[in-house]
Symmetry: C2
Subunit: 221 residues, 2 copies
DNA sequence: CCGCTAATGTACGAACTAGTACGTTAGCTA
DNA sequence: TAGCTAACGTACTAGTTCGTACATTAGCGG
């Protein structure tokens, strides 16, 4: 998160709209991720801020709009991160594995984002659907997948004829589940999916799975 | 869900503890799945019941315990369903594919259960962790997977040396994601993962993926 | 350096919500 | 059929929570 780390002011000003908004968004992200939309408390967000509840309503309008703003920023940060990825110099197999690993790492490093997505799905994606910034935003990763897939399919390395969106879903599924459902999975099966000692194991498992799927010999169909 | 479908009474009695409890659980399941734990309203549950709020506290003690009871019953139903599965007569490849398909179907048919699991994870699995009935319950499917894997690995058909829990996670990931995240995924990528027209496509994709992973030629490692 | 507005703080209210005190009755049992 | 208890209903409360009316000031533009 692009946090406000300085203890007092960012640029010497006592009154700083941008800083206040950023601070509210930081704390709100934590609070919504911690407790869900309805579980989150506006008073609690305000209390953990340098400013007061008044400012939340001044800048964002209300709890609902604040949550939308939190989602918009969180998705924006993901987009930024994905735009960094540079795997086109690799051969298709290595490129896909690398992409899967980056997705894996990314999910692991942003559990709050995963929680926000879970919460938003509980509410039928109503906030991102209403957001002008987030409608059909897609993902930079998708374009990368599209190009790697095309190269792999053309060269005959990839036998599966998946499209980019479906492959993205496949990769995300595993990464998302591992983080989002770690609590129930841990209690029910006695295994911590995000145990650091098992990280490399699951990371390799994901890559193996995706590559195996893409390169498997298919019965002619 | 083992619902109470008759409009008035089940067995002629006006006062029927079992029926009242079952009805409360039915409605509570819907309400919690609809709105999340904090979003759910005890008054709303009561209103949609033949009985009153008083009885919820009489039988379950409180909102928290009611939610736990809802989870216990939901997991119990899953267990029952999984105990039906009979794939041991098939060869390992067919058996795993069948198991994956059953998991796929099951997730699709019980979106409320998926939502409850998402909600419980938002709350750190605190309810199932505290429940005597649900600690380390495991899953009947797990035993089946264990046996199929052993057979497949022994015969040399399966090259991957996954264990049953990890394979279960892999299969569940895809099934869970498809249902749980369909709303955000739909808005962001313009694709409905639970579109009935695409059902067979995704069902086959899951099976292909798992089989490809299990039977891929591995570099000696 | 003066005034105007964006930015901020305080105190409060209206509505909601989990939970309960108290009273009533169905229906089994002896 | 009498009576006892499990099952049920009504009405209420205490506490919480989103949101706002009103008052204040920092600091930029002229």
């Amino acid at each position: 998160m692009t946090s406000v780390d300085e203890p007092a002011q960012t640029n010497g000003r006592l009154r700083d709209a941008a800083r206040t908004q950023a601070e509210i968004l930081d704390v709100a992200t934590q609070e919504f991720a911690r407790a869900g939309y309805d579980g989150a408390r506006v008073d609690e967000i305000a209390a953990r801020t340098r400013t007061t509840k008044r400012m939340i309503y001044y800048y964002f309008g209300g709890k609902e709009q604040l949550f939308t703003a939190v989602l918009e920023r969180a998705y924006g940060l993901i987009r930024e991160a994905e735009q960094q990825l540079d795997v086109e110099h690799l051969d298709p197999v290595a490129a896909i594995r690398r992409l899967a690993e980056l997705t894996f790492d990314h999910h692991e490093q942003h559990p709050d984002f995963i929680r926000l997505v879970s919460i938003e799905n509980i509410h039928g994606a109503q906030h991102i659907a209403a957001s002008a910034k987030l409608g059909r935003i897609g993902s930079p990763a998708l374009e990368v997948i599209r190009r790697i897939l095309a190269a792999g399919q053309e060269s005959g390395l990839f036998t599966a004829d998946v499209d980019a969106v479906d492959l993205h879903a496949m990769i995300s599924s595993f990464c998302f589940f591992r983080v989002a459902n770690r609590h129930t999975f841990g209690v029910l099966f006695g295994r911590d999916l995000v145990d650091p000692a098992q990280r490399a194991h699951y990371r390799a498992m994901l890559g193996d799975m995706v590559i195996a799927y893409l390169t498997a010999e298919r019965a002619a169909d």
